[in-house]
């Protein structure tokens, strides 16, 4: 810890000479380099604070924000430009890359010229919306400067903005004189999204509104935003703490408004000087990391228990240990690091978390470890009664302050075997401890004479408690049928228990394989018991089933009968599944042979082609000839229309001339419709 401190001091000494915490190369983008005259005081102030200013126009070909992948500037100021875009060197993509590389941007707009599309895209990426057509003018008929805009009402006079919430430090208005006024001349208001990274610094008064002076000079038909929804100056801080400030009115940064005389309309006081210069300094200072930058100097945690070693930042703790955590923080304020002080309603919080926080505690200032350039915050707490890998986490993210997210990982082990309270400390254990002193143990009881006597007696009588004693391994040596039956029943019980367990979806493949093995072993044992029962002259259980297993469709299951079988989820194991699929496929092929050419041929024999047996030798032909002759004679005798005796009449032979009546197509249709009707009616 001592060495850490001295390192901090060394770092501190290096930083003091630099003006901003993140470099001093500042790029100023202007339409015309001559325009900078208007901002000479603002730019002079920046130079006075140690920034190196480079002036470029958007069209300049030498302008590049990156060189060999490194930022060439630390900060950028955009002043209003007439051009629609900002050229290929300042596309929104490049600007986002610039912010991703921790570059800071200050954008100023003006109602006189439309905002460049590049900046509009960048701002919309950050959830800041500018008025439609990139133009808008904020006016307020109730809070305007009567001196300079008595008619147009487009110079807003506002009090310096306080913090937006009570738990946020006042960066922009602190120390301002009571009657100080900010002039916001001819500016553009923006609407902010719900992002937590955005903070409005200066909001429009409730009677202000934004309109398009070109199209809505007469009537405000489509209102962009009004009142406090209009952010005149707003800031954005990315997750990497890169900053962007949007100043709606570039004119408010100009020399003519620095300390200018302004008088609010209807005000009773005389004209006062504007607060613009100080405000411009603070907004630019915030954007360029001169204020509101936080730094973690060191973090220390140790056991806070009597008699424990005072080792710093150990990697392992035990559950329910008392632990002290200290973090030292500094805040940069213009020229030097100062101790971080929190507003009364805010708190620096420590989370002790595994996945989610178990503790979230407020850290309180620790004066003993603080110095003029750092403030230590500490807390002591008892670790939760849960072992695992935990994090000490300080996640201090607040609007306008750079983000702090510190994570220190420690293991928390459970109690060791010798860290529990001794049994004689636990009053409930006293009778048991006394018992150990005066009695013998159970295993000795088992050896006692009485026990052995009873056991022998039970064995003689053939009463054996099947539930309690072990199933004998030597099955063939068992010579009583009832005990064999009992053992077989026990095996069956175990099998059914395991077969239902193997369906459990939570089992792993290995567990399933093991279970399946056990079931197969039990099946073998069951078979052996059955054989033994049969040999002893008992019922023959083995005959049932015949060793084959059938599925619901009556087909035999391969691998289902004798030999190794698969149960439940074991059938879905890799390897086994393929086996069953292959078997099922084979079965399917066996079932439909007629569809295949080979199968068809198998059914075709000589008879199919007319070579019927007995036809060649003439016997059948002779018989047929004889019957034909008889029929002809009978017909000749009986005459037409009458069946000869012993003959069945065919339809149409009835003599009434009626032959087979085939239904006509219409009749078939009628009948079909009738049937369908009936079926439908039945359904109803």
């Amino acid at each position: 810890m001592r060495s850490l401190l001295s390192l901090c001091v060394f770092v501190l000494a290096g930083v003091v000479s630099a003006i901003s915490t993140s470099g001093n190369r500042l790029l100023v983008v202007l339409d015309d380099v001559a325009d900078k005259e208007g901002y000479s005081q603002f730019l002079g102030d920046l130079e006075g604070r140690g920034f190196q200013l480079s002036f470029e126009t958007p069209k300049s070909e030498s302008l590049a924000l990156f060189h060999l992948g490194e930022r060439t500037y630390d900060h950028i100021i955009f002043f209003p430009t007439k051009a629609k875009g900002l050229g290929p060197n300042l596309t929104p993509n490049v600007l986002v890359d610039f912010m991703n590389a921790n570059g800071n941007i200050l954008v100023s707009l003006s109602a006189d010229s439309a905002a460049p599309t590049s900046l509009v895209s960048l701002l919309s990426e950050l959830d800041i919306t500018l008025p439609a057509d990139r133009t808008g003018l904020v006016v307020d008929h109730f809070n305007y400067d009567a001196t300079s805009a008595a008619d147009a009402h487009d110079v807003l006079l506002l009090p310096p903005p306080g913090p937006i919430r009570s738990d946020i430090k006042d960066f922009f208005a602190s120390g301002a004189p009571k009657d100080a006024l900010l002039a916001f001349p001819r500016g553009v208001g923006a609407a902010l999204g719900a992002s937590e990274l955005l903070t409005p610094v200066l909001r429009a008064p409730s009677t202000a509104y934004s309109y398009n002076p070109k199209e809505q000079a007469e009537v405000v038909d489509d209102l962009f935003a009004a009142g406090e929804q209009l952010a005149l100056v707003s800031v954005f801080q990315a997750r990497n703490s890169a900053r962007l400030a949007l100043v709606g009115s570039a004119e408010m940064l100009q020399d003519k408004w620095f300390g200018a005389e302004a008088s609010k309309v209807g005000g009773e006081k005389k004209a006062g000087k504007t607060f613009n210069r100080e405000f411009a300094k603070r907004v630019s200072g915030w954007a360029f990391n001169e204020i509101g930058v936080l730094r973690v100097n060191w973090i220390e945690h140790h056991l806070e228990e009597a008699g424990a070693s005072n080792e710093s930042n150990p990697a392992i703790y035990r559950v329910k240990n008392d632990v002290k955590y200290t973090i030292s923080l500094s805040e940069y304020s213009w020229t030097a690091w100062a101790p971080l002080t929190l507003p009364a309603t805010d708190a620096l919080q420590l989370e002790f978390s595994m996945l989610s926080p178990f503790h979230r505690l407020t850290l309180s200032p620790d004066a003993a470890h603080s110095s003029p350039s750092e403030a230590a915050y500490a807390t002591t707490f008892k670790l939760p009664d849960q072992h695992g890998i935990f994090n000490f986490k300080v996640n201090y993210k607040r609007p306008l302050l750079s983000n702090i997210e510190e994570k220190n990982t420690v293991s928390v082990r459970h109690m060791a075997h010798d860290e529990w309270p001794r049994s004689f400390v636990i009053s409930g254990a006293w009778p048991w401890i006394a018992g150990i002193g005066v009695t013998a143990r159970n295993s000795e009881k088992a050896q006692s004479m009485l026990f052995r006597f009873r056991e022998a007696q039970a064995a003689d009588l053939g009463i054996i408690d099947a539930g309690r004693s072990r199933r004998p391994r030597a099955i063939t040596e068992q010579d009583s049928i009832p005990s064999c039956e009992k053992w077989r029943g026990q095996v069956l019980k175990e099998i059914s228990r395991k077969v239902s367990r193997i369906q459990d979806a939570a089992l792993s493949d290995y567990q399933i394989r093991d279970l399946n093995d056990e079931i197969n072993k039990l099946m073998r044992e069951k078979h052996m018991w059955e054989v033994q029962i049969r040999n002893l002259g008992g019922p023959n259980y083995t005959r049932l089933g015949g060793g084959k297993v059938y599925d619901e469709a009556g087909r035999e299951i391969q691998g289902g009968g004798k030999g190794y079988r698969y149960f439940g989820r074991a059938r879905e194991l890799p390897g086994v599944k393929e086996l069953f699929e292959a078997a099922a496929k084979q079965r399917k092929e066996d079932e439909k042979p007629l569809e295949e050419r080979v199968g068809l041929r198998r059914q075709v024999d000589a008879a199919y082609y007319g070579y019927a047996p007995g036809e060649e030798d003439g016997e059948l032909l002779e018989y047929e000839r004889a019957r034909e002759q008889m029929a002809r004679e009978a017909l000749a005798k009986a005459g037409p229309g009458k069946a000869p005796p012993g003959w069945e009449p065919l339809p149409g032979d009835g003599g009434d001339g009626r032959v087979w009546e085939l239904p006509s197509l219409e009749e078939v249709q009628v009948e079909l419709i009738e049937r369908r009707k009936r079926r439908l009616l039945d359904q109803i």
Binding site: F142, D151, T207, V220, L223, E268, E351, P399, W430, P431
Partner: protein, 287 residues
Amino acid sequence: MRLTQSIAPALLLLVAGVAQAASGWGFEDASVQIATKKAAESIREKFTQTSPLAKPVSLGTTNTLKLSLTAKDNGKGKRPHQAFLVLQEQESGLEAPFPLTVKESGKAVAQITQKDLPVQFLLASKPLKASVVLASFGSAPGLNSPVFEVQIEADASAPRPAYEKPLRYGKQPEIHHIFRPDPKSPPKIISLVFGLAVIATLPALLVGWAVLGGNLNHLTTAMGAAPLSHASFFGSIVAMEFVFFMYYTSWNLFQTLPVIGAVAAVAVLSGTKALGEVQSRRLAGQR
């Protein structure tokens, strides 16, 4: 300019006082109507610049709030650039402006239904404050006067609209881990009574033996036959109990095992002799 400045305070007083309509922006013929689907049930209430409606008007889910007025500049009908009806939620101060549609003559109307309002307004517990803002360019002072209050009637059958507060960085509620309760023991007196009851069985046993005629006659013969082995065998058993006691109280396994080994060796060596002696007596039929 100097003149207007000096006049301004006086003007302001005037405005704040009585004759508001006389100078600057104002309105006349103002009314608010809650239109329902059935025209007969519509409610129309009139108000003026100086006397806002005392009772809040209620806006149901199917109703439409219609505001109509005539904007006047110094008593003459004129179209102002800014003519808003501003609704304000009282608790959070959230405001929503609704521009009025203004004709050249100054006649202005606005129609609002619940659908036009932000979600926070629909969930407001107090009535919304409505004020009319009329102002324009030039020197005429604008008007921003409260006119009535709107009570939002929620549809009882429909679920209330959900409003999720956006994430804001700030202090979070503290969390203190709740520890599992420590294992509990019965009252000490009960443990003590039963512990003593268990211990009391040992003297009871000894007394029982004494009463039933346990004899120590062989002690002298045993000691006479093999004094060293009997003494060391008994001593090793006692020592073993002592080792176990030490293991229970303070020693670890690696301290215990060698001592057990030593004591056990003594017990085995002396035990064979001592028990052999006992066996010889038993075989001799001495009981």
